[in-house]
């Protein structure tokens, strides 16, 4: 059964790109454009991996991360930070990886594969 990735980013172009990329490489995907949406999606879809933007309106990526990692059934879902901020690795310490925009898609795919497999 294909692994499922939740893409969270407020920029629809980025979401479109990531969803397309993961889909083409055989993953199932779901997407959210903000933190509340992402939280609903997380509980509904139970994804195997999350890619998370940091700088989002209202609720930021790190705030969303802290919220879902407090819940026992969700806290172990690994997260990859994908952000345009200058020092994104400081925001979520337990992230599997931190990828700066614009990213190298082969590198990103390798991180995904290393984390959850093909």
């Amino acid at each position: 059964m294909a692994k499922k990735i939740l893409v969270v980013d407020d920029d629809p172009n980025v979401v479109y790109y990531l969803v397309g990329l993961f889909h083409d490489n055989g993953y199932e995907t779901c997407a959210a454009h903000n933190a509340p949406e992402a939280f609903d999606m997380l509980q509904k879809e139970k994804p195997d991996l999350i890619t998370l933007d940091i700088d989002m309106p209202e609720v930021t990526g790190p705030q969303f991360y802290r919220k879902y990692t407090k819940m026992d059934d969700l806290k172990d879902i690994p997260v990859i930070i994908i952000s345009g901020l200058a020092k994104p690795h400081l925001a979520v310490k337990k992230a599997v990886a931190v990828v700066e925009k614009p990213f190298d898609r082969d590198q990103l795919l390798k991180i995904v594969k290393d984390t959850i497999g093909e």
């Binding site: 920029d11 172009n13 397309g20 345009g84």
Partner: protein, 646 residues
């Protein structure tokens, strides 16, 4: 010559003979037969001369002599001696007897003795007269000396008074040396209406009038004893104050203001009068000097490249300099907040108010709106103005227009800040572009026309956005010349609408195009104006998104024209703006959107429009919506075109 004489002898014959002889000489003659009787008569009639025998019973002549000299040393005593009484005669001389004659008495010798006695008496009287006269003389001279000293003292008082007055005036007007030569003639007068003392200036200018009549200096009707100010003061007992004319030493007349003050003795009677006459020509010269000085200050006040105001506790304007009045045009008594922000509400951090509260100078920087509608960055300094009790009664505010400095600083700091604030956005755009390219590439790989088309759309869109952002950057990096060309208004407006409309519709916001189909063409740098209008439209969109009070939102994008201008209208029914936001929104880095805004958008838009010699007008009501009216000239002014050719 003495008039009375006493003869003392125990022999009656001698007494009778002497009495006859002496009476013939013109004496009033008294006689006594012994010393005791003689002393009684002396006590009664005090004869200046006593003629006495030495040898007598009861009390002899020597004894009598001693007693007489003891009682009255000035009585002349002549002794009568017999032959062989030489020792006694000499003894009597030791006891201050005037002379002695021997029996039988020869008239010649008697007369000589009497003459000597009379000479002594006369000499003594003269001596006494001289002595007494000398005392009178001394008394007289001393009185003169006392008077002289008194006059000197009066003079000193007058000089002291005028110098004290000078000092007082100097203290009052410290730094104004004009008053050092206080033009005041000071004099003191006695009740005879005579000048008894004057100050130096009086003497120099009006002459030495000491001892003269008080009225003599006057040229006017006051030149009489009754009418002169001093005379009036004596007759009424009250100080006088009037304008008069006095005669100068050189014959010219001076207008003076005369004040007099009565000086009373212990009984309350006016003893002296102090007169002070101020030279009005001097006073008016000083007044002119003062006026010139004030004008110079006013000139400085007005010419200073700052706004000066003085405000009272109610923050009302009490004074303002010319520049303030020119740029803000306020009436005295109105409020500074009305002048500066037009809302009439005192600013919560008003530095003037803070100065009243804390009593210390304050500094602040803010943006104010001039009556022309222009925005100025001002640096405000305040200073408390305190009364004698140390309470702050007014505050002076000095505002320096630092708009140009700020603009320069904005420019310098903007590059760094701009890159920081939008690099995040650029990264997002590049990621989006990567996404488009990936779609395009995978479309080519899979020969999937749909993917290729999708990918290309994304790439095109991203490149468009990157282009706009680059244009923004260029606007900060350097003054960019307009790349103008004649452009069809409707085509332009439709292109602008297309950049915002999908986003609006995506949020269920109605987007209305209200275009005048006959708008024709205008001269414009279409690229930059498009980004300016897009910015305004996107703000309208944000204003609608933030507003939760209405069910339906609508943005109307209108295009109309009048004779010279094309008018773009953007109105929305979003949250609207308060006065402060409306006034500050075109300033750099002012944002009402918190961390979502960069504070750049409208600043750039405004610059772009102004570069075209266009204008923006904003109407807004909080809670109801906003309307931006952008007027763009159909034909660009020549100087802008010329500038471009250079």
């Amino acid at each position: 010559m003495a008039d009375r004489i006493l003869i003392v002898d125990d022999e009656e014959d001698i007494r009778v003979v002497l009495k006859i002889s002496l009476s013939d000489l013109g004496y009033e003659v008294y006689t006594a037969e012994n010393g005791e009787e003689a002393l009684q008569i002396i006590e009664e009639v005090t004869p200046p001369i006593v003629l006495t025998d030495i040898r007598m019973p009861v009390m002899d002549g020597l004894e009598l002599l001693r007693k007489i000299k003891q009682e009255d040393p000035e009585t002349e005593v002549i002794m009568i001696t017999g032959h062989g009484d030489m020792d006694l005669a000499i003894e009597s001389l030791k006891h201050e007897a005037t002379d002695f004659i021997t029996k039988p008495i020869k008239d010649e010798l008697l007369e000589i003795a009497l003459k000597r006695a009379n000479e002594r008496i006369t000499m003594r009287r003269q001596l006494r007269e001289y002595t007494e006269h000398l005392e009178d003389l001394v008394r007289e001279k001393s009185a003169k000396l006392v008077e002289a000293e008194r006059l000197i003292a009066v003079g000193q008082v007058v000089e002291g008074l005028s110098s004290a007055m000078k000092n007082i005036v100097e203290d009052l007007e410290s730094g104004l040396t004009y008053f050092n030569e206080m033009p005041c003639f000071v004099s003191i007068h006695n009740s005879n209406n005579e000048v008894v003392g004057t100050n130096q200036l009086y003497k120099e200018r009006l002459g030495n009038k000491i001892g003269h009549g008080s009225w003599e200096i006057y040229a006017s009707s006051a030149a009489s004893q009754e009418n002169c100010p001093v005379g009036k003061t004596f007759s009424t007992g009250k100080g006088q104050r009037r304008r008069e004319r006095v005669k100068n030493l050189n014959g010219s007349e001076l207008p003076v203001m005369v004040h007099t003050a009565p000086i009373r003795n212990r009984d309350g009677k006016v003893e002296l009068v102090l007169e002070m006459a101020a030279d009005l020509t001097e006073v008016s010269r000083l007044q002119e000097d003062l006026l010139t000085c004030q004008q110079r200050y006013q000139l400085l006040f007005d010419a200073a490249p700052c706004y000066f105001t003085v405000q009272d506790r109610d923050l009302k304007l009490m004074a303002a300099n010319k520049k303030f009045l020119e740029d803000f045009g306020m009436q005295f008594g109105s409020f500074c907040s009305q002048a500066y922000s037009h809302d009439g509400e005192p600013h919560p951090e008003c530095p003037v108010w803070k100065t009243f509260e804390e009593g210390e100078s304050q500094q602040a920087e803010t943006v104010v709106t001039a009556k022309s509608g222009e925005q100025y960055n001002v640096l405000i300094w305040t200073a408390p103005i305190k009364n004698v009790a140390g309470e702050v009664t007014h505050v002076m505010e000095m505002s320096t227009n630092i708009t140009q400095i700020r603009q320069l600083q904005d420019h310098l700091s903007s590059l760094g800040l701009l890159i920081g604030s939008i690099s995040h956005g650029i990264k997002g755009l590049l990621t989006g572009l990567d996404g488009g390219m990936y779609r395009l590439e995978s479309g080519f790989e899979k020969e999937d026309q749909e993917r290729i088309k999708e990918g290309w759309e994304i790439v095109r869109h991203m490149i468009g956005r990157i282009r706009n952002m680059s244009l923004d950057l260029l606007y900060y990096a350097k003054e960019r010349d307009l790349q103008w060309e004649r452009t069809d208004v409707l085509t332009f407006a439709n292109d602008v609408a297309l950049t915002v409309e999908p986003k609006a519709l995506g949020h269920n916001i109605e987007f209305v195009r209200d275009f005048d189909a006959s708008a024709g063409e205008f001269e414009v740098d279409a690229g930059v104006l498009a980004s300016a209008l897009t910015n305004i439209l996107e703000n309208a969109l944000d204003a609608c998104l933030e507003d939760n009070s209405k069910k339906a939102h609508k943005i109307i994008f209108g295009v109309s024209q009048d004779q010279d201008d094309i008018i773009f209208d953007v109105s929305d029914n979003g949250i609207g703006m308060d006065e402060e936001t409306r006034e500050k929104m075109f300033t750099l880095f002012y944002s009402s959107k918190g961390r979502e805004g960069t504070g750049l958008g409208l600043f750039i838009s405004n610059n772009i429009i102004e570069q075209h010699e266009g204008s923006v007008q904003v109407d807004s009501t909080p809670g109801e919506g906003s309307r931006f009216t952008v007027r763009m000239p159909k034909i660009l002014p020549d100087e802008i075109k010329t500038l471009q050719k250079d």
